[in-house]
Amino acid sequence: MSRRSSTRRKALMTVLAWAVGLLLFFPILWTVLTSFKTEAVAIADPPVWFNFDWTLENYATVQERSNYGRHFWNSVVVSVGSTLLGVIIAVPAAWAMAFVPGKRTRDILMWMLSTKMLPPVGVLIPIYLIFRNLGLLDTRIGLVIVLMLINLPIIVWMLYTYFKEIPGEILEASRMDGAGLREEILYVLTPMAVPGIASTLLLNVILAWNEAFWTLNLTAAKAAPLTAFIASYSSPEGLFYAKLSAASTMAIAPIMILGWFSQKQLVRGLTFGAVK
C-alpha cells in the first residue's frame, strides 16, 4: 500500500471514529443541554441548540420535589455493595477454576454465562414473590442480593481470565524460593491480581449503577436508587422534558465522572484480558 492511500485511509478512519463517537455521545449531550432549558424551549420545534436562556430552574425544582441525596446514597450502597459481595464470592470460584480446573470447569463457566441470556422478565414473577415472602421488597439488601446474582457470572468470568493470565511458573518459582501458601498468596498472587480485581470492581459498579429493570421493579420509595429517581420524572400526567433531563444528568454525572477517570482500567476490563 502506498503512503498516500494509507494516509487517506487513516483520515477516513479518524472521521468515521469521530462520527460514531459523536453519535453515541449525542443523546447524553442533548440531555445535558435540555436540562438547562425551560420546558417550553425543551419541546420547541425546530429544536434549539445553544441559543437559549440557560437556566438552573429545573435543577432547583428537582431538588425541591425529590430527595436526590437519598436516591444517590441508595445507588452507592446497592452498586458498591453488590459488587463487593460478588467479588468476595467470585474470587475463590475463579481462583479454583483458573488454577485447579476440573473436567467440567469449562462447562460450568459456559453455563454461568448462559444465565445472562435469560430475559429477566421471565423470572420477574417468581423473584418478586420470593422477595415479598422474605420481606426483601423495597430493601437495599434485597437489591444488593439480586444485582450481585445477575452480575456474578460476569465477575467470575472476568476474574477467571485475569487469573488465567498469571503464569503458573511464577507461582512455582515462589514455591521453589521457599514461600508457603500464605506467602505465595500474600506476596506474589495478590499483587499480580490486584489490577484485574480493580477493573472488575469498577466495571461492575458501573453495571450495577445503571441497572434499571430490577431496581425499578423491586423498589418503591425506601430503597429506590437513582434509576427510580429518573423514572419518577416521566410521569403519566405529561412529560416534563427539561426536568427529566435535569434528573437524568444528576443521576448519570457521578458514574460518568468515575468512568472518565478510570478509562484505562475499564478498557482493559472490557476486553476481558484479551489484550495484554
Binding site: 511464577i170 512455582e172 518459582a173 521453589m176 499480580m192
Partner: protein, 333 residues
C-alpha cells in the same frame, strides 16, 4: 552438600506413563544434563526432583534424607525457569532478595548477599529496575541471582537458554559453566540441545520416552554410545547409519559412522557417491552425498574442499570409528 538419589521413581498422568521406573544417582558437585527430544520426560523428571510434581511411586532423597513427600520449599533446591518466572511487580533487588526474605534472614544479611550476587552477575546498576525493563539476558541473570543467594543444595535449570538469541546463548552457557566452577554446587540442567549438553556437562543423562538410554561423560557418549538412539542424538551433524550388505560385512545389522570420520577424495575411496548439498563454511565443509545403495551420507571435512553439486566423490570411513548395532539397535562391542 548436594547429592540426589532417585530410586524406582515413576510418574503417570492419568493413564499415561510418562516416567517408567527410573533410578539415578547424582553426586555432590556434579553438573548433570538431562537431554532428549521434546516430550522425552526430561522436564517432568526435573519437576519431580523439585517437588513441583508428585511422584506416582518411588523415592527421592537429597543428601541421604528422604524428601519424596516434602513440598518444594522444604527441599533446599533452587530453580531457574525457561520463562525466567521473575516477579513482575518487584524490583530486581526484591526479586533476588525474595528467597532470603522467605527464609527470614536479617535485613543486613539480605542486603549483603543481594549486593554480592548483583556484582557477580553484573546487575548492580539494574537493582532498582523492574524485570519488564530488562533484556532477555539480564532477566536470565536475575533468575540465576535469585537462585544463587539461597546457597541451595542443588540448582535446577529448565531449558534456561532457549528464549535467548544464539550469540547470547553461547555467552550465558559460558557464564553458567563459570558459575558452576566457582560455586562447586550440584547443578541439574535440562535441555533438548545436545551442544549445550556436550559443552557443559560432567555427566549427561540421555532420555527417551521417560527411559534413561545412557548415562555418561560427554565424550563417553560420543565415543561409545550404548545404542542407535544415543549414537544418533549425540553429535552434530548426526551419525550416518547404513544397513544391509555393507553392514553385514561388519557382522552387524546397522553400522554407524560420524560425518567427521569419513574422508573425502575425488579420486578413490571405499564408497562412491554424488555431491548433493555442499555447505562451505570456510573452517569446515558439510556435504550431503548420495551414495547410491548406501543412502544419503553426511560428511564433515576440515577446511574448504573444492567440490560442488553433482561432482562424483569417494568416501572412506575410518575403520576404527565404525559403530556396530544389532537388529534391536543395541551397540555391539
Amino acid at each position: 552438600m548436594g547429592s540426589i538419589t532417585l530410586s524406582k521413581i515413576t510418574k503417570t498422568f492419568g493413564p499415561k506413563e510418562v516416567i517408567p521406573p527410573l533410578d539415578l544417582q547424582i553426586n555432590e558437585g556434579e553438573f548433570v544434563v538431562f537431554v532428549g527430544p521434546s516430550g522425552c520426560g526430561k522436564s517432568t523428571l526435573l519437576r519431580l526432583i523439585a517437588g513441583l510434581e508428585d511422584v506416582t511411586s518411588g523415592q527421592i532423597s537429597i543428601n541421604g534424607e528422604e524428601v519424596t513427600l516434602a513440598p518444594p520449599a522444604k527441599r533446599g533446591l533452587a530453580m531457574v525457569f525457561q520463562s525466567y518466572a521473575l516477579y513482575p511487580h518487584m524490583s530486581v533487588k526484591k526479586n533476588i532478595a525474595f528467597p532470603l526474605k522467605m527464609a527470614k534472614k536479617s535485613q543486613s544479611e539480605i542486603d549483603e548477599k543481594v549486593t554480592n550476587a548483583a556484582k557477580v552477575l553484573n546487575l548492580t546498576e539494574y537493582l532498582d529496575h523492574r524485570p519488564g525493563q530488562l533484556s532477555g539476558g539480564q532477566r536470565q541473570r536475575v533468575a540465576i541471582g535469585r537462585a544463587i543467594v539461597r546457597e541451595p543444595a542443588a540448582f535446577l535449570f529448565d531449558e534456561p537458554l532457549s528464549n535467548l538469541d544464539a550469540a547470547l546463548r553461547v555467552n550465558m552457557r559460558a557464564e553458567i559453566s563459570d558459575l558452576h566452577r566457582q560455586l562447586e554446587t550440584t547443578m541439574i540442567y535440562v535441555t533438548h540441545d545436545q551442544v549445550e549438553a556436550m559443552t557443559m556437562a560432567d555427566k549427561i543423562v540421555v532420555l527417551q520416552a521417560g527411559r534413561i538410554e545412557q548415562v555418561g561423560a560427554p565424550l563417553e557418549l560420543y565415543e561409545t554410545p550404548r545404542n542407535k538412539f544415543v549414537a544418533g542424538f549425540i553429535g552434530s551433524p548426526r551419525m550416518n547409519f547404513i544397513e544391509g550388505h555393507e553392514a553385514a560385512k561388519h557382522d552387524a545389522h546397522t553400522i554407524g559412522i560420524r560425518p567427521e570420520h569419513l574422508t573425502i577424495s575425488t579420486e578413490s575411496g571405499a564408497w562412491q557417491g554424488k555431491v548433493g548439498l555442499a555447505e562451505h563454511l570456510g573452517s569446515d565443509t558439510f556435504l550431503r552425498v548420495d551414495a547410491g545403495p548406501l543412502g544419503e551420507l553426511t560428511v564433515r571435512a576440515i577446511g574448504d574442499v573444492k567440490v560442488k553439486y553433482g561432482d562424483t566423490v569417494f568416501l572412506s570411513p575410518d575403520p576404527s570409528k565404525i559403530h556396530r548395532f544389532d537388529a534391536g539397535g543395541l551397540a555391539l562391542r
